[in-house]
């Protein structure tokens, strides 16, 4: 599981991954997942990071 900051290209939600911890940042209305089929909503060991944008 790669450490780093990733963004969903569809909902633009940013998640910081570090080890076995996912830090999700949500602004505005609460709720998760942000949209149906969001890659970020998968369990951390099943996320396809190639489908996410790496944030530098």
């Amino acid at each position: 599981m790669p450490d780093g900051t990733y963004r969903c290209p569809e909902c633009q939600t940013v998640v910081i991954f570090k080890g076995k911890v996912m830090n999700v940042r949500i602004t505005g209305l609460k709720g998760w997942p942000r949209h149906y089929g969001c890659e970020l909503a998968n369990p951390i060991d099943q996320i396809d990071f190639d489908k996410l944008e790496k944030v530098e």
């Binding site: 999700v24 940042r25 949500i26 209305l29 609460k30 998760w32 369990p43 099943q46």
Partner: protein, 187 residues
């Protein structure tokens, strides 16, 4: 019975009626303040006035073994958030640790190393004590050796920040007046 006796008796009747009227007025005032100090009724009034809106937030997470997911949520700009109902379900009672903080402070009512399914009526249990001014942080950890799911729903009302800041002063005054009236009516 002369006229003075009649006048004296009438005066005493008027005196009793005045006391009854004052007592009724006090009871009415207490009843009004009880409504104002009820968070659900306060929020209903704000929604009706167009100063607030309700959102039901649903969270559904599949969490791998040993993984922690932390949600840092910032309010819509210009709004404060009040949660009034909170519902939690899990695939495995006791598997999740949950930590909840409002505006950087841990809350006393949602911190557990072994969460179980529950429904909380926050507006009744802790009225006006679950107000998110800027942001909150919900952290869940799956302690189970297997993947588990957790679902969480909370009914929140977003109140315009300037409205809430003005109303807070009125609520403080109402709470003081209510306490004084209740004290006086028991004396």
């Amino acid at each position: 019975m002369d006229i003075d006796d009649v006048v004296a008796r009438l005066d005493s009747v008027v005196d009793v009626l005045n006391k009854m009227s004052a007592a009724l007025e006090k009871q009415n005032r207490i009843a009004l303040l009880e409504i104002f100090l009820d968070q659900n009724r306060y929020l209903a009034q704000k929604v009706r006035a167009g100063e607030a809106y309700v959102n039901i937030a649903f969270f559904f997470l599949n969490v791998a073994a040993g993984v922690t997911v932390a949600f840092a949520t910032t309010n819509p700009e210009g709004y404060v958030a009040m949660s009034h109902e909170f519902m939690l379900d899990t695939s495995q009672p006791g598997a999740f640790t949950i930590i909840y903080a409002i505006d950087g402070r841990l809350t006393p009512w949602l911190n557990t190393v072994a969460a179980v399914p529950m429904n909380l009526e926050l507006a009744i249990m802790v009225p006006y004590d679950n107000i998110v001014m800027e942001s909150d942080l919900t952290t869940v950890t799956n302690n189970d050796p297997l993947q588990q799911w957790l679902s969480l729903a909370s009914i929140d009302t977003y109140v315009r920040k300037e409205v809430w800041e003005a109303d807070q002063q009125d609520l403080d005054l109402a709470a003081k007046e209510y306490a004084l009236l209740r004290e006086a009516s028991h004396a």
